[in-house]
């Protein structure tokens, strides 16, 4: 038995032990979706979030409650050369995603990396596009999938992934609702990401400013010259400049190796 098969077998055992994960969708959810007013409210709520984790959680919950046929949902995030799952409706999604990342193939990766706006899978047991991935997850109880590329005009963020336990679970309305949610999510994530970058930038700038101030006072030099000293220490020690600055601000010592 291959490593992938062993992993799938182990995952299938986990799934079998987690019966409640596969609870049926509520009647209320099924009857009210897709709800335009609810989708509009969700778009506004996502746009108002300034923290990425909160945006991801809202997106995942919205997918499960608003997309007809959806049992599970998750996010695939691209960060440089790596992929991760920052939010998922439950552990099964994370298990499935791990199989995609391990095999290097699957609907989510096709949407996120190959820039396919919508990937529709009617039945994983019959679909031949991702043989390694399908073989690995066939025992996990997921049959249908939708994967939407999360992108803005300037960047691909990742993918929004929807799962169902039954084959042919998704209708054209499901695809339409998912496309709307993915578009709103991408805009909200881009905005929240921008806010987080700015928060990080402000904190780092403050630390670097303190470090420069120490060096300026110590050596009677200008701010630009102090920055050059930090560059030298960073290059010499192969550490990031903000880490050098943080140490200097905390200890008064300039680490040069």
């Amino acid at each position: 038995m291959s490593r992938a098969q062993k992993g799938a077998s182990s995952d299938a055992a986990w799934v079998a032990s987690k019966g409640p994960v596969f609870t049926d969708r509520t009647t209320a959810q099924a009857e009210t979706r897709p709800d335009p007013d609810r989708l509009a409210a969700l778009a506004r709520q996502m746009g108002a979030e300034s923290h990425l984790d909160a945006v991801w959680d809202r997106v995942v919950q919205a997918c499960v409650t608003q997309i007809d046929g959806a049992d599970h949902a998750g996010i695939t995030l691209l960060t440089g050369d790596s992929v991760s799952t920052p939010a998922a409706s439950d552990e099964l999604v994370r298990i499935i995603d791990r199989h995609q990342y391990a095999t290097g193939e699957g609907p989510c990766l096709t949407a996120a990396i190959d820039h396919e706006a919508v990937v529709r899978v009617a039945d994983l047991t019959l679909d031949t596009r991702w043989p390694k991935f399908s073989a690995a997850v066939v025992g996990l109880g997921v049959r249908s999938m939708l994967a939407f590329q999360l992108y803005t005009d300037s960047d691909t963020i990742g993918g929004l992934n929807i799962y169902a336990r039954t084959p042919d679970a998704f209708s054209d309305d499901s695809v339409h609702t998912g496309t709307l949610l993915a578009a709103h999510a991408a805009v909200a994530v881009a905005a929240a990401s921008h806010s987080e970058h700015l928060r990080t930038a402000l904190a780092s700038r403050d630390t670097i400013g303190q470090a420069k101030g120490i060096l300026m006072e110590r050596y009677k030099i200008t701010a630009d010259q102090a920055f050059d000293l930090l560059i030298a220490a960073s290059q010499q020690t192969h550490r990031k400049l903000k880490d050098i600055a943080s140490d200097l601000a905390a200890t008064g010592e300039l680490t040069v190796g």
């Binding site: 440089g80 300037s154 960047d155 970058h197 700015l198 990080t200 930038a201 780092s204 700038r205 670097i208 400013g209 420069k212 050596y219 030099i221 630009d224 010259q225 920055f227 050059d228 000293l229 560059i231 030298a232 220490a233 960073s234 290059q235 010499q236 192969h238 550490r239 990031k240 400049l241 903000k242 040069v256």
Partner: protein, 92 residues
């Protein structure tokens, strides 16, 4: 053999960063120019401000540091005390 230092444009191309991603890193290091000004710097042959050039070079070099790559974007006229500490060839 020591490789020649890269220019900003070559460093940006090799880093794979977008202009906006580089600008975020530049802001984190204390840079004060707008994204539009940064684009102008990178598109012109010579960056008019040595300090800005060095902040951008550091931002790019940290990308290569994260990836364990040997590429290095060259600095401009680093403060003499800094070059003495590091032995950079391009210091004054």
């Amino acid at each position: 053999m020591t490789e020649s230092p890269l220019g900003l444009s070559d460093g940006l191309r090799l880093s794979g960063l977008t202009h906006e991603q580089l600008w975020h890193r530049y802001l984190i290091l204390g840079g004060g120019r707008t994204l539009g000004e940064l684009r102008e710097h990178l598109d012109s042959a010579a960056c008019p401000d040595e300090h800005d050039h060095n902040v951008l070079a550091q931002a790019l070099n940290e990308v290569f540091l994260e990836r364990d790559k040997a590429h290095r974007v060259g600095y401009r006229n680093l403060f003499r005390l800094a070059t003495e500490r590091q032995g950079l060839a391009d210091g004054r």
